[in-house]
Amino acid sequence: MKLVTAIIKPFKLDDAREALSEIGVQGITVTEVKGFGRQKGHTELYRGAEYVVDFLPKVKIEVAISDDLLDQTLEAITKAANTGKIGDGKIFVSDLLQVIRIRTGETGEAAV
């Protein structure tokens, strides 16, 4: 089992969610986050004084999947979140040791 964590542009969230549903992903967790990468921040203006916003808003998606879905998942997110411009984000993949569905007590692949 794998945990896929993707940081993407907020306005691409709906596209990513739809793409993941299409390939059969059963659930995702979404968090509003802030951070910086190569895009760095940008400057804003308040009452004539400029200030730098170091951390830009992004959305973090977490998806737990079985191993056989990994390639499709990565492709779905990459395709859906791609704008070709700087700041599109990154995807991290890590091994998942155990999954438990709290309601039924199911574990492993059955609980994903």
């Binding site: 804003e44 203006l45 308040y46 009452r47 004539g48 004084a49 400029e50 200030y51």
Partner: protein, 420 residues
């Protein structure tokens, strides 16, 4: 029949006065929202506490002694309700004034209309000292400001008394219709004295002299506050005609409403264009200040300019306020909401505009009046702030400022999370 018409006119003018007073009271809400929008969220509860508490203090202190000092009435307003001979007294003064003469209205309505002006003057101070002043030092100052400092200058202007028995402003040709100087410049002078002794917010100015932006937390609230102030201003200026119930007065009221509105529109448009030219963006908070600058500029005389003149006067105020805000930042006078620029700079400007359209006033009289108000209010406030600084301190600690004065002074966050 004639007496009944007089009674009806008395009733109408009293009613008009009361409704306008209620509109001005609503300006307290406008100031609260504007200031709450322009401070950071960690200082929201405290600025709201200040705003509502100062309103209570202003109403109480003006009742206790302010109204008596300003207009020579009685302390604690005793007898203001009128005795058994009220109708006879009112009819006698109406007969003396005649139908088209000066306004005759209930004394209680006069107090109500005046007291909300005091609260307005004090509201101006709260925004300028926001985010770093101790709550109780501010409230202690409010007691003196609304009980003595404002009523003293009010007695020399609207009250018609000589300044310490030396000279009378009215004789010199001083005219301030609804209070560009008496209310707005006065409030800004008290604020300036406080800000000088208080110092800038931590992090506002860089070591190299640069100005750093400290963006306000909630621009929808700031915009709502500006609209509320704009609406309340119709009572502020419109009510200052003092009378509605004859054709001449009704017409004057209509012109005042029209000009007040036109000046605000001119002010915001001019500020918007100025900000766009200077910074390359339409700066909302400057636009909001521009609308208020236009309103303050027209307040000294909204009844004699033409509608076009009112728009232009407001527009000049709107340009002036942007440069004033930038200039104050240059000399490190930190005013989070722009109150000193809006009410001080444009209040002075408003006074100087009066002789252009009103032949009863003179530039000399306006300058002496403005100087009298500034020297007295700034001087008396400076001494009062100094006393408070020595006795209890004006400023919260650096740690409390960093944490936000909501927790330090009020023990309550405006937007609490993770509570149980």
């Amino acid at each position: 029949m004639e007496n009944q018409i007089f009674e009806l006119q008395y009733a109408m003018d009293t009613f008009y006065f009361l409704v306008c007073g209620a509109l001005v009271m609503w300006m307290a809400a406008g100031f609260s929202m504007l200031e709450a929008g322009l401070v950071r969220s960690k200082n929201t509860t405290e600025i709201l506490t200040k705003n509502i508490a100062l309103y209570g203090i202003a109403c109480t202190m003006y009742l206790v002694c302010g109204y008596a000092i300003m207009y020579g009435g009685t302390y604690f307003l005793s007898g203001i309700a009128g005795g058994d001979d009220l109708v006879a007294t009112a009819l006698a003064s109406k007969a003396e004034e005649g139908f088209n003469g000066g306004a005759v209205y209930s004394d209680a309505s006069d107090f109500f209309f005046q007291v909300v002006f005091v609260a307005t003057a004090m509201s101006i101070v709260s925004g300028a000292v926001a985010e770093r002043m101790k709550l109780w030092a501010f409230l202690a100052f409010a007691v003196v400001m609304t009980g003595v400092i404002y009523p003293m200058e009010g007695s020399w202007t609207w009250g018609g008394n000589a300044v310490f028995g030396l000279y009378t402003l009215g004789d010199l040709g001083f005219v301030d219709f609804a209070g560009s100087g008496i209310v707005h410049l006065a409030g800004a002078s008290a604020a300036l004295a406080g800000v000088i002794l208080l110092g800038a917010r931590k992090g506002k100015y860089g070591a190299d002299g640069s100005t750093r932006a400290i963006p306000g937390a909630n621009l929808p609230l700031a915009t709502l506050g500006t609209f509320i102030l704009w609406m309340g201003w119709f009572g502020f200026n419109g009510g200052s005609v003092l009378k509605l119930a004859d054709v001449g007065s009704a017409n004057a009221v209509a012109v005042v409403f029209l000009n007040t509105n036109a000046a605000a529109a001119g002010g915001l448009l001019a500020a918007m264009v100025t900000a766009r030219l200077l910074f390359g963006k339409a700066d909302l908070t400057m636009i909001l200040n521009g609308a208020l600058a236009g309103l303050v500029a027209i307040t000294a005389e909204p009844s004699t300019p033409t509608a076009l003149q009112a728009t232009l006067f407001g527009a000049i105020g709107g340009v002036l306020v942007v440069f004033s805000i930038l200039a104050l930042d240059k000399i490190k006078i930190d005013d989070p909401v722009g109150a000193i620029s809006v009410h001080g700079t444009c209040g002075l400007f408003g006074l100087l505009l009066v002789p252009i359209t009103n032949s009863n006033s003179t530039f000399f009289g306006q300058i002496v009046g403005a100087a009298t108000i500034f020297v007295w209010v700034f001087g008396a406030s400076f001494i009062m702030w100094m006393v408070l600084k020595a006795v209890m301190g004006l400023r919260v600690t650096a740690e409390e400022e960093d944490q936000g004065v909501d927790i330090a002074e009020c023990g309550l966050e405006a937007y609490p999370e993770f509570t149980k």
